[in-house]
């Protein structure tokens, strides 16, 4: 079988990217976003918050010494060590302007003659007046101008000029009236940038005329680093680098129940089980039976000593429960609708035990087996009102003397499946959705025939269809696998020059692995599923201008939900034997 033009077999990633195996020039890599933390199961079976580890360098020298020895003075004065800095040392400097319009303290950084994405940050404390201006400039007029007000605690003006692009900016409000300002931008291709700070009486940029000449502020901890904002790093006469962990936009290669990792793409979900790694903090409910909770008793599925020991003794219709969702499970609407609760359990006696997992409106049986290995057990409840209680422990049907471990409770307002674990404390917590889009380009997909193959575990989403599409960046030309909200079908859909020429619904089993392929050329389209040719269409034009592969619609909506094991695009029609071999489970 020939090599595919694009092959995504999940293995390599960094924050914001999923690497394709082929091609190896990065043109087939996917953009990835998830603006929150998410957890995954590692190869060794432990649960962890997905992260990437890299290094960050403060390229700005003398980050706490703003004197004229190291920084350009430009009509400003510095008095060193005049204020307690955010780290508690007396190292913050007083920066004061003069009557000259251009009053600012400046430092330059040499860089390569390419555009770079940087973040500038600095700690500020109010001195005399409310305004402070900042600028990072390449080859004039290319720059970013930032204006901050101490009284409103906000950056009220942020503008990129000419060949600079501004991505982000913000203010951290800190103790003792300190602020950390930051802004992220892409530079021009000039081989140098200048970073400038200016205290001001009134509104304006660093070089604008001002209504007064005596404004001052306290400054400390300036930093310029590549990429997004990170923790502050002190520098003196040389750049300093330290190791950093990134948790957002990190693709999750998940090893749950598999010897190979898959790319986990989940929708937004909220966990209403409070204190889910400290379940002993939640309330108990008993009648006749007894229950004892011991917190931080044993090693949990994430390798930490946070599992709760639950001992319960009862008989007959007595009961003794841990209320998994806590005593104050937040609001959740006026009621109605399903909720799915899950929790990791393990026997603490060396023997298998039967326990009760109970939820409102849940059909029996409520008995669950607890083995000597950590296992995630689930129950589907239905809310009669706003309640979504889930209990675990002793009741009729359980062994009379229970001694087991519990950890990682999760309650989601869905009926479909329990998603990856979301850590909670005293509040409900939402993990945001995964988005993996924009793989490949027009050169890669400049094909007149081909094969589009996906090996995926689609999750059921009863509220909306979800997509995997090879498209032209719009909806005029595309091949799409549409996983239907009925939870039983996938639709193969083809559009050429806005004409819908191909539509076939095929039954599949969701929440299980499926291998799908469409081979395509003019007037010959074949759909293979799990080793069988399931549909042939002998009329239709080829879509043209294909330039991206998305685990979503072409516009980023209706993201695919499930696991991606393999994805390929070939520039030829695989013969039937090849397509069957490729799609055989």
């Amino acid at each position: 079988m020939s090599k595919p033009k694009l092959a995504l077999i999940p293995s390599g990633y960094k924050s914001g990217k999923v690497y394709s195996i082929l091609p190896n020039d990065a043109s087939g890599d996917f953009d990835f976003t998830r603006q929150s933390i998410g957890t995954r199961v590692r190869k060794d079976g432990l649960i962890e918050e997905a992260k990437t580890v890299g290094s960050i360098t403060n390229e700005l020298l003398y980050s706490e010494e703003f004197t004229g020895l190291y920084w350009g003075t430009i009509n400003t004065t510095i008095t060193s060590n005049q204020e307690l800095a955010p780290n508690g040392t007396n190292t913050a400097d007083k920066l004061q302007r003069t009557s000259t319009s251009a009053s600012y303290r400046q430092h330059s950084i040499s860089k390569s003659s390419t555009a770079k994405k940087y973040t500038t940050s600095v700690y500020l404390k109010k001195g005399s007046h409310d305004y402070f201006a900042l600028r990072t400039q390449g080859s004039y007029p290319s720059r970013v101008d930032i204006r901050f007000r101490f009284d409103t605690e906000q950056i009220y003006y942020a503008t990129a000029v000419s060949n600079f692009t501004l991505y982000d900016y913000g203010v951290e409000v800190l103790a003792n009236d300190w602020y950390r300002l930051h802004y992220t931008y892409e530079t021009d291709t000039y081989n140098n940038i200048n970073v400038s700070f200016s205290p001001r009486h009134s509104d304006g940029n660093i070089d604008s005329s001002d209504s007064g000449s005596t404004a001052h502020a306290f400054v400390w901890g300036a930093m310029v680093s590549e990429g997004a904002l990170s923790d502050y790093i002190k520098t003196e006469g040389s750049q300093e680098t330290k190791r950093v962990e990134t948790f957002t936009d990190v693709p999750r290669l998940d090893w749950l129940n598999s010897n190979c990792p898959s790319l986990l793409l989940e929708p937004q979900r909220t966990n209403y089980c409070l204190n889910n790694t400290q379940l002993h903090l939640n309330s108990t409910l008993s009648s006749g039976a007894t229950i004892t909770l011991t917190g931080n008793y044993a090693t949990a599925p994430n390798g930490t000593l946070t599992a709760t020991r639950l001992q319960a003794t009862g008989s007959g219709s007595n009961y003794a429960y841990l209320s998994m969702n806590g005593t104050n499970p937040t609001t959740d609407g006026s009621g109605g609708g399903y909720y799915r609760s899950s929790v990791y359990v393990k026997s603490n006696t060396g023997n298998t035990q039967n326990i009760i997992l109970f939820a409102a409106g849940a059909p029996s049986p409520y008995t669950r087996e607890v083995t000597t290995e950590w296992t995630r057990i689930e129950i589907l409840g239905y809310r009669p009102a706003n309640a979504k209680y889930t209990y675990i422990g002793y009741s009729s049907g359980a062994d009379s003397d229970l001694d087991f471990l519990a950890w990682g409770g999760q309650t989601e307002l869905v009926n479909s499946y329990a998603s990856s674990l979301i850590y909670t404390g005293a509040s409900a917590v939402t993990r945001l959705k995964d988005e993996c889009i924009n793989g490949g380009d027009s050169d890669l997909f400049d094909i007149t025939e081909g094969t589009f193959f996906v090996d995926v575990t689609p999750y059921i989403n009863t509220s909306s269809n979800h997509y995997i599409s090879l498209n032209d960046g719009g909806s005029s030309d595309r091949f799409v696998f549409i996983f239907q909200s009925n939870g039983t079908q996938v639709r193969l859909f083809g559009v050429s020059a806005t004409v819908n020429f191909l539509s076939h619904y095929q039954n599949i089993t969701f929440n299980q692995r499926n291998k799908l392929a469409v081979t395509f050329k003019e007037d010959e389209f074949k759909f293979y599923l799990n080793g069988s040719l399931v549909h042939t269409d002998t009329s239709g034009s080829m879509p043209t201008g294909l330039n991206q592969l998305d685990f979503s619609e072409n516009n980023g909506n209706r993201n695919f939900e499930g696991k991606v094991h393999d994805t390929r695009v070939y520039d030829r029609v695989l013969i039937e034997a090849e397509a069957i071999e490729l799609t055989t489970l």
Binding site: S287, T330, G333, S334, F358, A385, N386, S464, N465, R558
Partner: protein, 110 residues
């Protein structure tokens, strides 16, 4: 760039109207889906007094709910509340009912 907003609307219908105003479409099966990139979490009606149930799920005391309806949002790519949202924005004191995983509310507050 993301910003986090917390809102209390007068009632659920008003909240749903505001959410719908951000953009929705329908798929071929008639299901509505959002066409915007913001993340909405419907926290539901405000609890005035917690209810109680027994272990069989029988309601011992009904939960008392306000008509007020709570929503948390991660705004994506905008720096101000959309039109019609600002007057319903709130800043909770103490521990909030809800957080986004790893997203510091105060640091990213709209």
């Amino acid at each position: 760039m993301i910003k986090v907003g917390k809102y209390i609307f007068d009632n659920e219908a008003q909240a749903e109207t505001k959410i719908k105003g951000l953009g929705v479409d329908k798929d071929e099966n008639g299901n509505e889906y959002p066409t915007h990139s913001h993340a909405i979490v419907r926290l539901g009606r405000e609890v005035i007094e917690e209810g109680e149930t027994d272990a069989e799920g029988n309601v011992i005391k009904e939960t008392v709910l306000s008509e007020k309806y709570l929503i948390d949002v991660v705004w994506n790519g905008i720096e101000e509340h959309p039109y019609g949202w600002k007057s319903y924005a709130v800043t909770p004191s103490g521990e909030p009912l809800h957080n986004f995983y790893g997203v510091d509310y105060l640091e990213n507050k709209m």
